[in-house]
Symmetry: C2
Subunit: 170 residues, 2 copies
């Protein structure tokens, strides 16, 4: 569903003629992927594993947990679907809860340099294990190993970065 395809039945005319089907193919794929994402997100959000965190907040903890070096706000903003001010305040809340620390970078006093506290790391691990189990249950219930691997490959390829977007007709 949703912010998805929406190319109506197509007025038939215009364009190379054969590209029509390709456009529909792309939109159908996006709508299906979008719907799947929505459905799973709703399902995961309903799980009682979040320890009072929103999924976005957990997302930040998870991202930090994967980085061994301190991250700046700007680094995280590329990974989280949230505006810069939104992310700034989200981190505020995590700091207030004692899950994240804001350290000052001696090289650049415009600050940031975020690190998980021990408590933050513990919470991430706990929530991560439970959420990971939910994810695995949902995904393996319907897809085979080959399909899972294929989905990963397609998803990675879909947002790979071959110098931004290639031309329409190179």
């Amino acid at each position: 569903m949703r912010p998805s395809p929406a190319v109506p039945p197509a007025p038939a005319a215009s364009s190379p003629g054969a590209a029509r089907g390709r456009t529909r193919l792309a939109n159908n794929a996006w709508e299906a992927a979008f719907t799947a994402h929505s459905t799973l997100m709703r399902q995961f959000a309903a799980e009682d594993v979040w320890a009072g965190l929103s999924m976005r907040e957990y997302d930040v903890l998870y991202t930090l947990s994967k980085c061994d070096t301190p991250q700046r706000l700007g680094d995280l903003s590329g990974h989280v679907l949230l505006s810069q001010p939104g992310l700034s305040r989200l981190v505020d809340r995590l700091v207030e809860r004692g899950l994240v620390e804001r350290c000052v970078d001696p090289k650049d006093a415009r600050a940031a340099n975020l690190t998980l506290t021990e408590a933050g790391r513990a919470v991430q691990r706990t929530v991560g294990r439970a959420h990971g189990a939910s994810v695995a249950a949902a995904m393996t219930a319907r897809l085979t190993d080959e399909e899972l691997a294929l989905l990963e490959t397609l998803s990675l390829k879909l947002v790979s970065d071959p110098d931004s977007l290639p031309e329409e007709h190179p």
Copy 2:
């Protein structure tokens, strides 16, 4: 990425032993799909095609445009990633903007029965065409026809409904 996998390196022990890899496979697939979704959503949201609508608002217009019969709030709520009160107020805004009409159902006076106005249908078509073009551009730039079809198939299968969730070990 994000509200995604997070199953850490795995403590090795426990479980059938072979299911470990399957769990990781599932979590990797989800994380990749999640990241792709995030990236594309950000990209689509940045496009200047929304005519002052949020993507969720467009989503509702799109969903309504696909239904020939009037829809109730409850029908829509299954399709949009939004709480029932949130959807109620979102529809309020669309009604205020003259894009949607709330008619009373003679069979059930608890109301709803939402329809697109002519203006609403026009806006949906305009936005839909432009958004659909963006979607097609982004998707076809990186995936072949076969891959697009495959992605659609996998996405549909991922949320197919074989009587809810099967057992862990049937």
